[in-house]
């Protein structure tokens, strides 16, 4: 008899179950082993084990509901979860030396990163307003603690406080919108909600929808709900910034897709009208304000905002192709952001944060490998053809064109040109400026540098052969 059958398809929830068990094991091992350096290795082992179990047991080809419809297992979730495992593992690999130098390499850091990942998975697989909210909170609470993790840093504490207060308001808005929708439809199940909402939607649903859109906009960092993003990116330890800038975006993409496109699909006309001004403002403010930043982390924060604008554009198109383009853009953005923050982490030393643009003057002479990686990553975000960022932008333009949003294509293209300036400025600083006299030399750190090199190569390889990932994204959102 097949043992899997006894649990009614529970194996499909392997990613969450394995991760939860791994977290508990890691907490205990960390206490009893007492060696911090080992915790980092163990965490990577836990991630690898969970990913392996996911690949072997949780492979899904058709959509299935588990736990009485609270959990959905589908190909989209499978893809996003595998991406989550990979990105978090690489991120932890990059940040290990940084944590050690700042004396914040403690077991709790890894435990909180894993619980955040669990929250992300819950969000990715949520099929009920209840699980959506639990996922959002699990992720948010872990991240607040991570931002404040460096207890001796006043800036980190301040940005954690800001993040916490604003995040609580966003959670409140989400909860309020959900309760209005629940009150009107009488169900928490997202599939059920979409069948019960029939157009034209009553006023109450629209009011609830406004709150949900505000919360999604806040979580993604869309203008005018972006205020927290630059401060948190700048104030948090760079390793935490890397985390916030990468894996949660996968979850918030899933949040927007499951809530807006699937659950509230009946109100698509209304929410796409709300998203249009958000997306336009996000593209303009993100790109224009990034021009005047002198801090690289802050500049990348505004670059994140600008990229979120593109993801929203995919949703505005409102077709399966549009969602697939948004998914592709999200995956590409996460890959590139991972590398960019990785470069900052590997350039920093004890007592030297490497977060100012001036710190990158003449990097090509001091550390050719890092400079080359940064060159590839920045060209990709700017959208230069052989790299993957170009295809991501092109696909968004295509779906917008097909759905008849010509003026949005024009704005997005114009803002891409503005954005290219500050990405190219970094390349100019690295390759054509003289290094300052007292610049630190290249550091060693074999594993992380190798991983970063592979990360940058992946950006190039996916750009040369974009078809497999593009087709995959289109298939999971059929």
């Amino acid at each position: 008899m097949n043992p899997a059958a006894d649990f009614g398809g529970l194996v499909l929830a392997t990613p969450e179950i394995a991760l939860a068990v791994g977290i508990c094991a890691l907490l205990l091992l960390d206490v009893f082993l007492g060696r911090r350096a080992l915790t980092a290795t163990l965490t990577l082992a836990v991630l690898a084990l969970c990913a392996a179990l996911t690949v072997s047991y949780a492979h899904v080809t058709t959509r299935r509901l588990l736990f009485d419809g609270l959990y959905v297992a589908d190909e989209l979730g499978y893809l996003l979860k595998l991406a989550g495992f990979l990105v978090l593992a690489l991120g932890l690999l990059y940040s290990r030396a940084y944590l050690e130098q700042r004396r914040i390499l403690r077991g709790e850091y890894y435990v909180l990163a894993l619980t955040a990942l669990l929250g992300i998975f819950v969000l990715i697989s949520a099929n009920s307003l209840l699980t959506v909210y639990l996922g959002v909170e699990l992720l948010a609470l872990s991240v607040y603690a991570l931002v404040a993790f460096d207890r001796d840093s006043g800036v980190a504490a301040e940005s954690a406080m800001k993040y916490f207060v604003l995040g609580a308001i966003a959670s409140g808005a989400l909860l309020y919108g959900m309760s209005l929708i629940y009150g009107l439809t009488g169900t928490l199940d997202l599939g059920e909600i979409s069948t019960r909402l029939n157009s034209p939607s009553p006023l109450g649903v629209i009011v609830g929808l406004v709150f949900v859109v505000v919360a999604v906009g806040f979580k993604l960092g869309a203008v005018p709900f972006h205020m927290w993003l630059p401060d948190v990116y700048e104030g948090a330890p760079t390793s935490v910034t890397l985390f916030i800038g990468t894996v949660p975006k996968l979850a918030y993409f899933a949040l927007a897709l499951r809530l807006l496109a699937q659950g509230l699909g009946g109100t698509e006309l209304e929410w796409s009208q709300m998203l249009v001004p958000l997306a336009v403002l996000t593209l303009i403010i993100g790109n224009v304000v990034a021009l005047v930043q002198s801090n690289l982390k802050r500049m990348l924060a505004y670059s994140t905002i600008a990229n979120v604008g593109f993801i929203l554009l995919g949703f505005i198109a409102g077709t399966p192709d549009g969602y697939a383009a948004a998914l592709y853009y999200t995956l590409v953005y996460v890959l590139v952001a991972l590398g960019s923050f990785g470069v900052i982490l590997l350039s920093s030393r004890r007592g030297f944060e490497a977060d100012l643009l001036d710190d990158y003057r003449g990097l090509a002479q001091r550390d050719p490998l890092l400079a080359l990686c940064m060159l590839l990553l920045m060209f990709s975000t700017a959208g230069v053809p052989p790299l993957v960022g170009f295809w991501a932008k092109l696909r968004i333009f295509q779906v917008l064109w097909e759905s008849g949003h010509l003026w949005l294509v024009i704005i997005a293209a114009a803002m891409s040109v503005v954005g290219a300036y500050y990405y190219l400025r970094i390349i100019k600083l690295m390759y054509f400026d003289e290094p300052p006299a007292a610049a630190p030399t290249a550091a060693r750190g074999g594993g992380a540098r190798l991983a970063l090199g592979l990360n940058a190569l992946a950006v190039l390889a996916l750009g040369v052969a974009p078809a497999p990932l593009l087709n995959l994204c289109a298939r999971v959102l059929q």
């Binding site: 939860a20 709790e108 909180l112 996922g135 699990l138 603690a145 209005l180 009553p202 009011v207």
Partner: protein, 205 residues
């Protein structure tokens, strides 16, 4: 007078007390009175829950929120030295904003109640009366550990995160404690303790 009218009368009576208590929370000058008003709110809300036959939730609300959380709150309020004048600053200045928000919320709730009918959700019907030996607690436990096992486990993870985060953020090793750290003593290097200063020899007097 039928039982339905009596229940309705009780609901409006408790509802009035609840709203007055909520106003007391934000309006009281003394934070201790605010906390006590909140206790009143919780107890009245528990009474309203009793009216819809949710006994278990009502008991838990009183036990957990009034018995544990609010007592803790009162302790904190009494122990902190709160500057009342500073706390009250800007109350009148922002009062209009609060009023506008409250009016908007009332309007929205009214909209939802009004719109429920159009969506086919029956709102006017009260709870179905249950049999005399019906156990609310048993039924709640039954769905909580079967149908809602997944959210229950997630809530447990949330509490675990809260514990880990609280300990990671607040537990500190005191710096000036007079105790020996053998590891630090053994690991000490000459460079940590000894500083060699190069200087010119002093001229002979």
């Amino acid at each position: 007078m039928s039982a339905g009218v009596l229940v309705q009368g009780l609901f409006y009576a408790f509802g009035t007390v609840l709203v007055l208590g909520a106003l007391g929370v934000i309006g009281a000058r003394n934070p201790v009175y605010s906390a006590l008003s909140l206790v009143l709110c919780f107890v009245t809300a528990a009474a309203i829950w009793l009216l819809i036959e949710a006994e278990f939730l009502a008991v838990v609300l009183v036990l957990v929120y009034v018995g544990a959380v609010m007592v803790l709150f009162l302790f904190v309020v009494m122990m902190l030295d709160i500057n009342l004048a500073e706390l009250r600053q800007g109350f009148t200045r922002f009062a209009w904003l609060g009023c506008v928000t409250a009016l908007a919320v009332i309007f929205e709730i009214a909209g939802v109640v009004w719109a429920r009918g159009t969506l086919g959700v029956d709102a006017a019907r009260g709870p179905v009366p249950t049999a005399p030996n019906y156990s609310n607690t048993l039924e709640l436990g039954r769905v909580l550990y079967t149908r809602y096992a997944y959210p229950l486990e997630l809530a447990a993870m949330l509490l675990l995160v809260a514990i880990v985060a609280a300990i990671a953020l607040t537990m500190r090793h005191r710096v000036n404690l007079k105790q020996q750290d053998i590891n630090a003593q053994v690991a000490v290097r000459a460079a940590d303790r000894l500083r060699i200063v190069k200087m010119d020899p002093e001229p002979r007097p």
